[in-house]
């Protein structure tokens, strides 16, 4: 008896709620369809490029949208063959990425620490000199940069890309890390000091572990920047053996202008690392990239 009553109440209450929800769902249909259309505008080029790598050049023209009937792995095989520019580009891009991240974190965190937590005369001036760099994109100083790198004898080395990339990343990186370091309460540092920690000890054992979210955001921003950078490598890496992935893919396209199927296979393979990193760390990448821009 009681059970039946309860059920009827639930049904009574359920109906109008359901009706409202359903009405809302219908009202969202145009929005949903719009988003679906935009999502396919984003995805269709990516999917056709991926599938294009599995076709022959003749099929590319005749049926660009159909699912390939026979999969032609030879394009991907050609790009992935030992000694192909893909592997060289991948290796160089990874070396430059790791070098950039390591050097950036090792040099920027102590600087941000000093600028955040030790007061000394001239601190704000130094910090503002770093902030000043936000005004200069690498593009406007790229020719003197080329001369500097040539003067240091670094042309055609990974350092030619790593050092300027790190230097141009300081403004945003130090700004974000400094703000984060400042938010850590002074009591924590006093406690660490009483326990006998030096400044370096406090930075390494307390501050940096606490700042993992900020370090992750900063690293991911630098990763995307380093992985995608093109103008600087184009100027300072002239030797084919030193080319990064973006350089290798453009050169491959210029070399095999008529063999689009292979070019599409190369483009797909060049995209995959970036897409994987993005899907693994979407939240940090999105917040890092937008926060960096907002701060900048």
């Amino acid at each position: 008896m009681t059970v039946a009553v309860k059920e009827s109440i639930i049904v009574e209450q359920g109906r109008p709620v359901e009706r409202i929800r359903r009405r809302r769902d219908w009202a969202m249909l145009p929005a949903f369809i719009t988003c679906l259309i935009v999502a396919s505008i984003v995805l269709i080029p990516l999917i056709t490029v991926f599938l294009g790598g599995l076709r022959t050049n003749g099929e590319l023209l005749n049926k660009p949208f159909s699912i390939p009937t026979a999969l032609h792995f030879e394009n991907y095989q050609k790009v992935l063959a030992p000694g192909s520019p893909f592997w060289g580009g991948l290796t160089n891009s990874v070396v430059i990425l790791i070098g950039t991240l390591a050097l950036l974190l090792v040099t920027a965190s102590p600087a941000a620490f000093v600028l955040a937590r030790i007061s000394f005369p001239g601190r704000e001036i130094i910090f503002n000199i770093f902030l000043f760099g936000l005004l200069f994109p690498l593009t406007v100083a790229v020719l003197p940069l080329y001369i500097t790198i040539r003067g240091l004898g670094l042309l055609n080395t990974a350092w030619a890309v790593i050092l300027p990339q790190v230097a141009f990343s300081y403004p945003v990186t130090i700004l974000i890390l400094r703000n984060f370091f400042r938010a850590v309460p002074q009591e924590l540092e006093d406690a660490a000091t009483i326990d006998g920690a030096s400044r370096l000890g406090f930075l390494l054992r307390v501050l940096l572990p606490l700042s993992r979210p900020a370090l992750a955001a900063v690293s991911l921003v630098a990763t995307v920047g380093s992985w995608n950078s093109f103008l600087l490598p184009l100027l300072v890496l002239n030797d084919e053996s030193t080319w990064t992935l973006p350089l290798a893919v453009t050169q491959f396209q210029q070399q095999f202008t008529t063999d689009w199927a292979s070019v599409l296979a190369f483009v797909t393979l060049a995209m995959i690392p970036a897409i994987l990193i993005y899907l693994l760390a979407e939240r940090q990448i999105v917040s890092g990239l937008t926060a960096g821009a907002v701060k900048g």
Binding site: R24, D25, T107, F120, L163, N179, T250, V267
Partner: protein
């Protein structure tokens, strides 16, 4: 002795336990700051100053820097129709972005912000092009536009075999718009995310209150959401215009400035004339010009338009 100590020493902190580490602190400050300062000075500050210096010389980048020509490079640049075309193209891309890309991003943000089913998936997809290398995006769109066996050509082949597929990138009147489509494809997701963050900061009860007062959906957007989104819109427009003045990768890959400079942009012009023709003085002048344009724009924009957003924000 007591009388000669500086005010910094006599400050409150003198008597804290930390004061004993002042000497250690001085070393810490120097050691911690030195590496980044050196790199920053050598690879950012000096090149920026050198760009200004080189811009007053006629220089091929190899001989001694002796051929001082004052403002000669700047006069030459401002008389060169190709450079003026490049500036015009940069600004046209900026205007197109303001008129089409940003409103589209706002609209989509408003749609995704509601309790739309699958909105996290949509957000992931929309932002995806922004993390791809501009070079890769350029190649993808170069393929799409390719008149011999690209995607659009394939569409024509399938549905209108007798028609000749259009060659957008070879048409001086269409090339900039074709580039703009690729640019929008890559960047709209970034602006969308900015707007979503802005929308998150609008309190739910303000909108609820307007609804209770009888405002319809459009009225809420027009009179509540958009005004409250104002600072985000101004920021997004600012970033979009600054970005538009600096495009290089995408244009380099898709058209290299062609056909006949119809899609020339400033950064590409700097590369062609500065490095490929070994006119480093001239190229540096172009770089300085780009900086001056961005700087003046940035200054005016912040003074005139973003003033209300920056006041009260002590961080910057």
């Amino acid at each position: 002795m007591q009388l000669t100590v500086s005010p910094a020493v006599t400050s409150r902190k003198f008597f804290t336990p930390r004061s004993r580490r002042r000497w250690g602190d001085a070393m810490t400050i120097i050691l911690f700051l030195l590496p980044s300062m050196v790199l920053y000075i050598v690879f950012v500050l000096v090149p920026v100053i050198q760009a200004a210096q080189y811009s007053f010389y006629k220089w091929n980048g190899l001989d001694a820097l002796t051929d001082y020509i004052g403002l000669g490079n700047y006069q030459l640049m401002l008389k060169d129709p190709i450079f003026l075309q490049a500036v015009k193209n940069n600004f046209l891309i900026a205007i197109l972005s303001l008129v089409f890309q940003l409103p589209a991003a706002i609209t989509l943000a408003l749609l995704v912000n509601r309790k739309l089913p699958g909105r996290t998936v949509f957000r992931t997809i929309f932002f995806l092009p922004y993390v791809l290398a501009p070079v890769v995006v350029g190649l993808i769109w170069y393929y799409i536009y390719n008149p011999s066996n690209g995607l659009i050509a394939g569409l024509f082949h399938q549905f209108a075999p007798q028609a000749t597929p259009p060659a957008f990138l070879a048409d001086p009147n269409a090339v900039l718009y074709a580039l703009f489509v690729a640019i929008t494809w890559e960047f709209f997701g970034f602006h969308l995310i900015l707007y979503l963050a802005g929308l998150q900061n609008i309190p739910e009860d303000v909108i609820e209150a307007a609804r209770v007062d009888g405002a319809n959906g459009w009225q809420v957007i027009r009179h509540i959401t958009l005004p409250l989104l104002g600072s985000t819109i101004r920021l997004s427009a600012f970033l979009s215009i600054l970005g538009s003045l600096q495009y290089f990768d995408l244009v380099y890959v898709m058209t290299n400035g062609g056909p006949v400079n119809a899609s020339q942009v400033m950064a590409l012009y700097q590369y062609h004339f500065g490095l490929q023709e070994f006119r480093l003085g001239y190229g540096s002048a172009v770089g300085v010009m780009m900086f001056v344009l961005c700087f003046i724009f940035g200054l005016l924009y912040q003074r005139l338009i973003m003033r209300q957003d920056l006041s009260g924000n002590a961080a910057l």
